[in-house]
């Protein structure tokens, strides 16, 4: 099932790249504009903006109504269990990437969390480990690639999933195929439905973030550019495990 999904994602990527190629812009000649173009790192912008419009439509017409019903009908206690369980099923992927990034302490933390919550947390429905100070973190293969020194590549807007990059997208595929949970046994229906990437996990994640997304859309002058910037900064921060040095972030008035 997992590998099937990976195959579908693979076909999607191929299609996206072909389509993107069709919408690919030619770099400008003027040096100032060329510098701006390179900084934007979005050669598929034309295609991406089209995809973004589709996503906004899906967001308004399908995502928001589902989120509304979900929040209205499903009691908070159940929603928390869904969230915790979906997060729990994602821990092995985090563990794998902690190891690949050479983060021993974080890997140990994730492993302990997983076993502890599986046993004491009723199969991962309660995050007991967090109560003991072992707070959750996530890692994905896209971040691992970044730690290994691979550049993000151009910005890509994926159908439904939204902002991404070629590196992030490759990482998603690898995580989907290499999920350590697959080593243990065949994926069960429950696992597919509840996993972070599964429908319920996704609905829960979306429902928790829909208001923030709405605020960005409402306040931005260019929603597409705003999301692109948010996404990139957020990714950078995630890759640095939230430890970006403040002085490495450009500050108004300190240059130019």
């Amino acid at each position: 099932m997992r590998s099937n999904r990976a195959r579908i994602v693979g076909i999607g990527i191929a299609a996206a790249i072909v389509l993107a190629g069709a919408g690919c812009a030619t770099p400008p000649k003027d040096p100032a504009k060329l510098a701006e173009y390179k900084k934007r790192n979005d050669p598929f912008e034309k295609f991406n903006r089209r995809m973004h419009r589709v996503n906004v439509w899906i967001d308004h017409k399908i995502g928001r109504p589902i989120a509304r019903v979900y929040k209205k009908r499903v009691p908070p206690f159940i929603r928390d269990r869904i969230r915790t369980f979906a997060d729990h099923l994602g821990e092995p992927i985090t563990f794998m990437n902690d190891v690949l990034q050479g983060e021993r302490e974080r890997a140990a933390e994730t492993a302990v969390r997983f076993f502890f919550n599986s046993l004491v947390g009723v199969g991962g429905m309660f995050d007991v480990a967090a109560m003991y100070g072992l707070k959750r973190h996530t890692e994905d293969f896209g971040q691992t690639l970044a730690v290994w020194g691979i550049r993000p590549g151009p910005y890509i807007v994926l159908p439904v999933l939204g902002p991404s990059s070629t590196r992030h997208l490759a990482g998603r595929v690898v995580d989907g195929v290499a999920d350590p949970l697959n080593w243990i046994g065949k994926p069960t229906i429950a696992r597919i439905i509840f996993s972070t990437a599964g429908p319920l996990g996704q609905i829960d994640f979306y429902a928790r973030n829909v208001d923030q997304l709405k605020a960005i859309e409402k306040n931005s002058l260019d929603y597409y550019a705003a999301l692109r910037s948010f996404y990139r900064q957020n990714r950078k921060s995630a890759i640095a495990n939230g430890k970006i040095k403040t002085k490495d972030i450009p500050l108004p008035g300190d240059d130019d």
Partner: protein
């Protein structure tokens, strides 16, 4: 309320005993952020009408944020070639726009929500670090860094960095995209004006 006085007193003592100039700037920064979040808290609790709330936020913003420096930087390269009239018009709409967007953001960061955890050296200024605790206490707190620099010997906010995401940098990127689309500063100003009208309607 007593705790507020106690903190204020403690900060005063700290400031008077601070020897090195950097320790002084750190305490200055902490005090400023504390004062600001208390004001935010007050506004959110006491001022319910949107126009009134916005007016209060505008004042708070003007007092604590280095609007001119932020606005100039957010605009980037086009600032250099803009006429004096364009610069003035731009700064005017920028301030209105930014107050409106920050009003929503800051409203969520009232007093007890925001926990002052420390400061960090930040070039010629200081960054004051605050946390917002996750309600379920499952996740790590959201870290907000207030990056402060002196302007006319007073510390002012130059940027707010939320979990590694710089609000000023976001705006700079977004404005660059709008500028590229519009092709000139007047187009950008018009776009901001339209947004302000749109935000007022809702």
């Amino acid at each position: 309320m007593i705790s507020v006085f106690r903190t204020a007193a403690a900060t005063l003592v700290l400031i008077s005993t601070a020897g090195a100039s950097h320790a002084a700037i750190e305490d200055d920064g902490k005090r400023m952020i504390q004062r600001m979040t208390q004001s935010v808290d007050f506004i959110v609790k006491r001022s319910k009408a949107r126009a009134d709330r916005e007016a209060r936020f505008r004042k708070l913003f003007q007092e604590n944020f280095d609007v001119r420096t932020i606005g100039r930087w957010v605009l980037g390269r086009p600032w250099r070639t803009a006429t004096a009239a364009q610069k003035a018009a731009y700064l005017e709409v920028f301030q209105t726009y930014i107050v409106k967007t920050y009003t929503v953001q800051l409203s969520g960061y009232g007093g007890d929500q925001l926990q002052l955890v420390g400061t960090e050296k930040d070039g010629r200024g200081v960054a004051v670090i605050t946390h917002i605790k996750d309600k379920s206490s499952r996740n790590r707190p959201i870290v907000i860094r207030w990056r402060l620099r002196k302007r006319n010997s007073r510390l002012m906010v130059r940027d707010v960095v939320i979990d590694g995401i710089s609000m000023s940098l976001n705006q700079r990127r977004e404005f660059a995209a709008v500028y590229a689309r519009e092709g000139n500063i007047d187009g950008l100003i018009a776009t901001i004006r339209r947004k302000i009208v749109e935000l007022d309607k809702k």
